[in-house]
């Protein structure tokens, strides 16, 4: 049922964007941003429940919650950066989009470094 709602919202928004784009391109861009946000808000609740299930499984399996937390953060950063970069690319600003993506890669690297260090420590312990 939800998928029909999502497709309908997407189609209506696209048609309206094309209508508005001829006269007011900036408003068309804002309309596409709003449509993107609305579509994602619809499924955000489901993503939240999936993440809770994964968290429960991780706790049961005994995986450190630090690692799962970092992975979730990285997914969140990646999503927001991709959201912004795609909007900038739609508006024709490829340079700004690549800057956003570059900055978000650095942020993800910063988050990933502790895990890499932990893995290396574990490996070094194995080597006699």
């Amino acid at each position: 049922m939800d998928v029909i709602q999502i497709v309908v919202i997407g189609l209506i928004a696209t048609v309206l964007i094309v209508v508005v784009k001829t006269q007011r391109p900036e408003l068309a861009l804002l309309l596409s941003v709003a449509a993107g946000i609305i579509l994602f808000l619809l499924v955000l609740g489901k993503i939240g429940s999936i993440i809770d299930i994964v968290r429960d499984l991780a706790d049961r399996a005994g995986i450190g919650s630090i690692y799962l937390g970092t992975i979730l953060k990285i997914i969140g950063i990646a999503y927001i950066a991709e959201f912004g970069a795609q909007i900038c690319r739609d508006a024709g600003e490829g340079a700004v989009a690549t800057k956003i993506e570059f900055a978000s890669k650095i942020l993800i690297m910063v988050l990933a470094v502790p895990i890499v260090v932990a893995v290396l420590d574990a490996l070094l312990k194995l080597v006699p």
Partner: protein, 67 residues
């Protein structure tokens, strides 16, 4: 989630209204007012979109426990 689709119609409505007003003002010879109307429409739509963006980022923060 009917409220979400309303926002899309509102923004499109503002866009079309601004376009029509501009053409009317152009024929009436008041080109400057046309630009002001465009600016006003843009500010209104910006307020809505920024409010929506704030809502999105808050929910993403809670879901992904970002901060």
């Amino acid at each position: 989630m009917g409220s979400s689709i309303d926002l899309i119609f509102k923004i499109a409505g503002v866009g079309i209204l601004v376009a029509v007003l501009n053409s009317i003002l152009k024929t009436a010879g008041k080109e400057e007012q046309g630009h002001i109307v465009t600016l006003a429409g843009l500010v209104i739509v910006f307020m809505w979109v920024i409010e929506l963006l704030a809502k999105l980022f808050d929910q993403v923060k809670t879901v992904f426990r970002l901060f």
